[in-house]
């Protein structure tokens, strides 16, 4: 070690990575030089080759056995992403700064023409009109969008105007198609999960069919024990 060279022990610890070819060239050269003179390390390389082939063989056998349910998994992941991104889409709409600038300059162009007739600055008029439009828009939204909920017996978690949520876990034998059909029948949408115990959060429509309650939805799901493992209300 005193001359900066690696010790026998250091070299021994590096052998696995010498074998997989990822050592830096300086380390690799040192290992090679050491192997020429050290029978013990040369023997260890042979052992490591054996271990490497065991790992490769076991992987090969496992990969043949395992069928990664790629399509199902991808669909369920994309649903999860949709659920995660959905509420944010309106906030983070791909409305780039330069497009916003362009719109603003068009509005300003219109009001500049208008202010030629008055003494009020164009920006002030534009802001006033936008403010007015915002108030009218909000009032209309509140008036026309009557929140209709479920006939909730116990308090159900309800956030941001979305429907109530329930927790659902699925049978490991249930197919993606069965899950989709079952959730489609109740108008449910997976918004998060799996949580601990394989539970998914399912968002129910905020405008349910007449006579539908969270309880009837749960009963409907329970009627499919081949697909649904467990289901309960969001507030329980």
């Amino acid at each position: 070690m005193s001359d900066g060279k690696l010790s026998h022990e250091d070299i021994n610890l590096l052998l696995p990575w010498y074998l997989n070819g990822t050592l830096e060239s300086r380390e690799s050269t040192e290992v090679e030089n050491h192997l020429a003179d050290c029978a013990s390390c040369a023997g260890e390389i042979s052992n490591l080759r054996f271990i490497k082939s065991v790992i490769a063989e076991s992987n090969e056998r496992l990969n043949e056995m395992l069928s990664v349910p790629a399509e199902d998994m991808e669909r369920s992941l994309m649903d999860r992403i949709d659920a995660f991104e959905g509420p944010r889409e309106t906030k983070t709409a791909p409305f780039r700064a330069n497009e916003l600038d362009s719109l603003w300059s068009k509005i300003m162009g219109f009001f500049e023409g208008l202010t030629a007739l008055t003494s009020i600055p164009a920006g002030a008029i534009a802001l006033l009109v936008l403010q007015f439009a915002l108030i009218v828009g909000l009032a209309a939204k509140l008036y026309f969008e009557k929140p209709e909920g479920y006939e909730v017996l116990s308090g159900i978690t309800q956030t941001d105007g979305k429907g109530p949520i329930i927790f659902v876990s699925f049978r490991s034998t249930a197919t993606e198609k069965e899950i989709r059909e079952t959730l489609g029948r109740i108008g449910g949408r997976i918004v998060d999960g799996p949580k601990e115990g394989g539970l998914y959060i399912v968002d129910l429509p905020d405008q349910p069919k007449p006579g539908t309650t969270v309880d009837t939805v749960i009963e409907e799901l329970k009627a499919r024990p081949d697909v649904i493992k467990d289901v309960f209300k969001g507030s329980d």
Binding site: W17, T22, V54, I55, L62, V68, A70, M73, R80, P94
Partner: protein, 194 residues
Amino acid sequence: MEKTDKEANAPDLLLLEQIAGGDREAFKVLYQRYVRQVFSFIFKLTGDSKMTEEITNDVMFEVWKGANSFQGKSAVLTWIFGIAHNKTMNEYRKRSPEPVDPEVFARVANPGDSAEEIVEKKDMSARMKSALDELSPDHRAVLELTFYQGLSYQEVAEIMDCPVNTVKTRMFYAKEKLKETLLKYGITQEDLTT
């Protein structure tokens, strides 16, 4: 070899940039590229296919959410494996995996195999699995990442979130333990060459 890795990572980085901007198509490409490797890696640590499926979903979801926090200090795959390792170990601590039924190893046999060959393959696969199962998840991870994924000790350290010296000593104990269990289950070099 290093250069090849770097070249392969260039498109990954581009994809990740697009993913950070909310591009789902780019995400699908990255997903298709690595889901099998991630799934396989997690399965090696848990031996539970249901658990593996759930963790893989979590990992790829994390990739979507965290794409904009990727700092480019490592290869994209190293970063993904790091998430996978971390999530797997957390899950492992929370619940015991349900090990795969050794019977499923029978499926490894090819349709044209004779009855003797089937029995032999099944037996060999089961013994190999038993030998690897006796290792701790950390030991399995270090062997898997080095010998199957072909990663450097620095990359393994990053994935396992530990110092490089820890990786080297884990490898030392992992291979010693594996030598011992291979001997115990009667697996020799000749078994693998036949």
